[in-house]
């Protein structure tokens, strides 16, 4: 009989990349709720997944970190049961915000998910989505040609990034391009850029998914597959500035693609960052629309966005064009909408319950409109609005900007 010594570095290659930090968590539990009236902004709870599930430790940060430690120390094996809980998390990283030792928790969860997927324990619900990403270049299992559809709503021509040079590339993202009720995010982004005289292009049917959902759901094979294709596309196009109106794409391009975008000398901006600069340069004023709004911070433009999270830019716009009533939890302490991290696909009921809480928070402000800058947040929050039959209306900031520029 051959007895092989347990070597976690060989067994867990994704966790291994995180090094000594794997055992960094001292298990203080601040990631559970850490309520703080005296914080600025105030903190009213941390983990939305825990709040809407049975709440056992693995549903929030500390339990996940203890599981990782136990795996690393050879005391536990990966399992489908474990995956069922580990994937019930939107990877919103509110736990990292609460962490006294400044851990980047979502990195650990994503690595654990990658281990689970590689061990054959990933969620069944995520398989077709990631397979479609590799084969069809979008996770919605649609013909990628449908990514051209939204362009038909424009009364001007947009450059094709595959064949034409432009000042900036607008990376539309799969959700805005392929979800009929959210296509207006893409349409309004294009309209605003056009109004401001920006020379921009899109890939249309040739746009390849950024791979965000693959990365969040632990499918590194699918992620690497689309990332390589994007690298080639970007390199060939010669683009130097990419803008996007999707928080998920923004975070993925800005954070997960850092290395190769640096190599290509490409900067990534959310469209509102870019538009802010253009408005300032061209001294364009915005009309006040006389409406009352509240603003939802997407996790991928905030806590997960790395350096310079976009907390102030949307608020600067909204303060000019509307009356902004803030929710109880905002900015780095904002509650997540519940869509991300593969949660909406894997556990739609849980994602909806989390979104309902966020919509309730929005309703409490008395606002007519709930504004965001993420098509995926838009989709989940809008689902909750419908489920509630709420009077509040979901709207993307780009739509308001288009109106304010009229």
């Amino acid at each position: 009989m051959i007895i092989t010594e347990f070597n976690p570095k060989e067994k867990y290659k994704y966790l291994n990349k995180l090094g000594d930090a794997l055992l960094q968590c001292i298990a203080c539990g601040d990631c559970r709720e850490a309520t703080d009236y005296t914080a600025n902004p105030q903190k009213w709870g941390v983990c939305v997944a825990r709040d809407h599930t049975s709440g056992f430790e693995p549903y929030f940060g500390r339990g996940k970190m203890q599981i990782i430690r136990s795996l690393w120390q050879g005391k536990l094996e990966l399992s489908k049961d474990m995956a069922e809980v580990i994937f019930q998390c939107p990877t919103c990283n509110a736990c990292a915000e609460a962490c006294a030792y400044e851990m980047d928790n979502a990195l650990f969860y994503e690595a654990l998910r990658a281990e689970l997927v590689d061990a054959g324990c990933g969620l069944e619900a995520h398989i077709p989505m990631n397979q479609a990403m590799v084969e069809l270049f979008n996770p919605y299992q649609r013909d990628n040609k449908q990514k051209n559809n939204w362009l038909k709503n424009l009364d001007f021509k947009v450059k094709n990034a595959s064949t034409e040079q432009a000042e900036v590339l607008y990376f539309v993202g799969c959700t805005a391009a392929l979800t009929p009720e959210i296509q207006k995010v893409a349409i309004n982004t294009a309209k605003v850029l056009h109004k401001l005289g920006v020379d921009f292009s899109v890939f249309g049917e040739h746009e390849v998914c950024c791979g965000s959902v693959a990365m969040r759901t632990g499918n590194r094979h699918a992620f690497n597959s689309v990332a390589i294709k994007n690298y080639e596309l970007f390199k060939k196009s010669g683009v130097k500035t990419i803008i996007t109106s999707c928080a998920g794409c923004y975070r993925t391009l800005k954070v997960d693609y850092t290395d190769f975008l640096e190599e290509l000398g490409i900067q990534v901006l959310h469209s509102i960052e870019f538009i802010k600069t253009i408005l300032k340069d061209k001294n364009v004023s915005l009309k006040n629309l006389g409406i009352t709004v509240t603003y939802h911070d997407p996790c991928h433009t905030g806590r997960n966005a790395g350096v310079n999270p976009l907390y102030e830019e949307p608020r600067e716009f909204l303060s000019k064009i509307a009356n902004l009533n803030e929710m109880k939890t905002i900015k780095e302490n904002a509650k997540c909408c519940g869509a991300g991290g593969g949660l909406k696909k894997g556990f739609p009921d849980l994602a909806l319950e989390i979104a309902k809480s966020r919509v309730k928070e929005a309703e409490d402000t008395g606002a007519e409109y709930l504004v965001s800058i993420c098509p995926f947040c838009f989709r989940n929050l809008n689902d909750a609005i419908k489920a509630f039959n709420s009077d509040i209306k979901m709207i993307d900031l780009l739509e308001l900007l288009d109106l304010a520029l009229s």
């Binding site: 539990g29 601040d30 709720e33 850490a34 309520t35 709440g55 536990l76």
Partner: protein, 528 residues
């Protein structure tokens, strides 16, 4: 043949135990519902430790998240029926092995987190014991109220029940005392076969509101304070409230000499002359200041002169003029005889805040100890926090240092031991030596750490130190030090037996493993 018999006997016992676990699982599942009970391995791993990596992992058989007192009572009945041990767990921020169990049932009480009443008119509140300090105080601060003592340094995570079970001190303790000092009574599920529910304090009078602690009956509340979960499961607490003073200020002084006789004299004078104004007095020993200076994120160009311990004051008043008087009195006391000078933390780290810009927010008390819990995590942290009279500070500091020197070779390699990371003044004339040592978080260091930890605790017990968050490590060390008289131990056992006849609740603490075992066998003899 003998070995086969023994193995068969053990196997039979295991099968009996497993069938009992399966049976109780089904019963508890009916009580709490399928979603709130688990026996999955990865769940057990997630509950195998608290902030106490000196202990080996301990996996319970079953973990339950009950919703209310009645459910706990029913669980208790089932536990008695099947004779399954149980341990309650609050925030799991424990450092001393208090809320983990090998086998048996672990009750995660954090689902019981409702604030039932905040009575602004009569200054008390009623809460479920699983509510955190951060959550309770956030709701109180909104109304201009406070509990005075702000709970333990882990207050974002730690629960009210855990702080009561550990007789915790925290920020505010200089003025408002320990957490049990603000407790007006508790609701408890007794670990008996009936799962009896009782209320103590004024609430023992079923016609009375829970507004005071003493009078209705003997102070049975005290039976459950600092009990580390061995006497009952606290489900609700009634707590005293105070108006939150609008004027608080931080002031810091550094002593011109590293002299603990002066430290005592100053503490005495401050307690005698400033008393009401002292929300907190924390004293950081010189070695801690040197350590912090060496770890500074942004070091000042000129190296600070660290001549002695730093006194950090939080002063409070309800009137700005009175606060000014307190500030003036403290200043005069501190600079008299050239004892100290004003100190700013920026002298050692430019990223630190100036005292004039300081505000009491929760992050301050709840992150104050983080840098000390694990000097550079991940580490094992073996706490030795204990109380002593202020007049013996100098002697006890020397005894601690002597112990560390004499046993230098027995600490884990690269361990760093401090008699006190801070000294915290408490009401009347005593203080906390909040100290301990650390080690690498590695399996091969755990037993080494545990051995010297117990030994050091025993030495402190023997010089008259009074520990408080006892958990497993410290309660056992007190027994090992032969601190309890046989009469006291018998009294303790007799009391527990009345409440917990089947010996199910929180075994191992105080070296109690059954009512039959002779606790005196754990006394460590021939130890100076």
């Amino acid at each position: 043949m003998g070995l086969v018999l023994i193995l068969n006997f053990k196997l039979d016992n295991l099968i009996i135990k497993m069938s009992k676990i399966e049976a109780i699982y089904k019963e508890i599942e009916k009580i709490v519902g399928t979603n709130y009970i688990t026996d999955k391995d990865f769940m057990k791993a997630a509950y195998s430790r608290n902030v106490d990596p000196a202990f080996p992992d301990r996996w319970p058989d079953i973990i339950v998240r009950p919703e209310n007192t009645q459910e706990i009572s029913e669980i208790m009945k089932a536990a008695n029926k099947y004779k399954i041990p149980m341990v309650p767990r609050g925030g799991g921020a424990d450092l001393v092995g208090g809320a983990a169990i090998q086998g048996g049932i672990l009750l995660d009480l954090t689902r019981m987190n409702k604030i039932i009443e905040i009575n602004e008119h009569d200054f008390y509140c009623e809460v479920e014991c699983g509510v955190t300090w951060g959550a309770l105080l956030s709701n109180l601060y909104e109304k201009g109220l406070t509990t005075g003592v702000l709970g333990p340094g882990s207050g974002y995570s730690a629960t009210i029940g855990g702080a009561l079970s550990n007789s915790t001190a925290g920020f505010g303790s200089t003025k408002y005392g320990l957490v049990p000092d603000i407790c007006l009574g508790v609701e408890v599920v007794l670990p008996n076969p009936q799962g009896t529910i009782i209320r103590t304090g004024a609430a023992a009078n079923k016609f009375a509101k829970p507004f005071c602690r003493y009078g209705v009956a003997p102070d049975f509340t005290g039976l459950f304070m600092g009990d580390v979960g061995v006497m009952g499961i606290k489900t609700k607490a009634f707590l005293r409230l105070y108006p939150n003073s609008p004027y608080k200020i931080q002031k810091n002084y550094i002593l011109n000499k590293n002299d603990y006789k002066i430290v005592y004299k100053l503490m005495y004078t401050l307690q005698k002359e400033v008393r009401e104004g002292l929300h907190d007095l924390y004293i950081n020993p010189r070695v801690v200041i040197q350590l912090l200076a060496s770890q500074a994120e942004r070091k000042p160009p000129k190296r600070a002169k660290i001549s002695g311990p730093v006194f950090m004051f939080i002063l409070e008043a309800f009137d700005e003029k009175i606060l000014d008087i307190y500030v003036d009195k403290v200043h005069k006391i501190m600079i008299k005889d050239n004892s100290a000078r004003i100190f700013e933390w920026q002298e050692i780290d430019l990223n630190e805040m100036l005292a004039k810009n300081w505000k009491l927010n929760f992050k301050f008390p709840y992150s104050y100890f983080n840098k000390f819990v694990a000097l550079a995590p991940p580490k094992i942290s073996c706490t030795t926090c204990h109380k002593i009279p202020i007049s013996v500070i100098d002697d006890k500091k020397k005894l601690n240092n002597l112990f560390d020197n004499e046993h230098r070779g027995e600490f884990p390699s690269q361990s760093f031991s401090l008699f006190a990371r801070s000294i915290h003044l408490l009401p009347n004339g005593h203080c906390v030596f909040a100290g301990g040592f650390n080690a690498e978080n590695a399996d091969d260091q755990r037993q080494v750490a545990m051995n010297i930890w117990h030994k050091k605790l025993r030495s402190q017990v023997k010089y008259g130190g009074v520990h408080y968050w006892l958990g497993e490590a410290i309660s056992q060390s007190i027994v090992e030090a032969d601190a309890y008289t046989p009469e006291f131990l018998q009294f303790f056992k007799d009391l527990k037996k009345v409440l917990d006849p089947n010996f199910l609740l929180s075994p191992n603490k105080f070296h109690m493993y059954s009512y039959d075992n002779n606790i005196s066998r754990y006394i460590v003899k021939d130890e100076n």
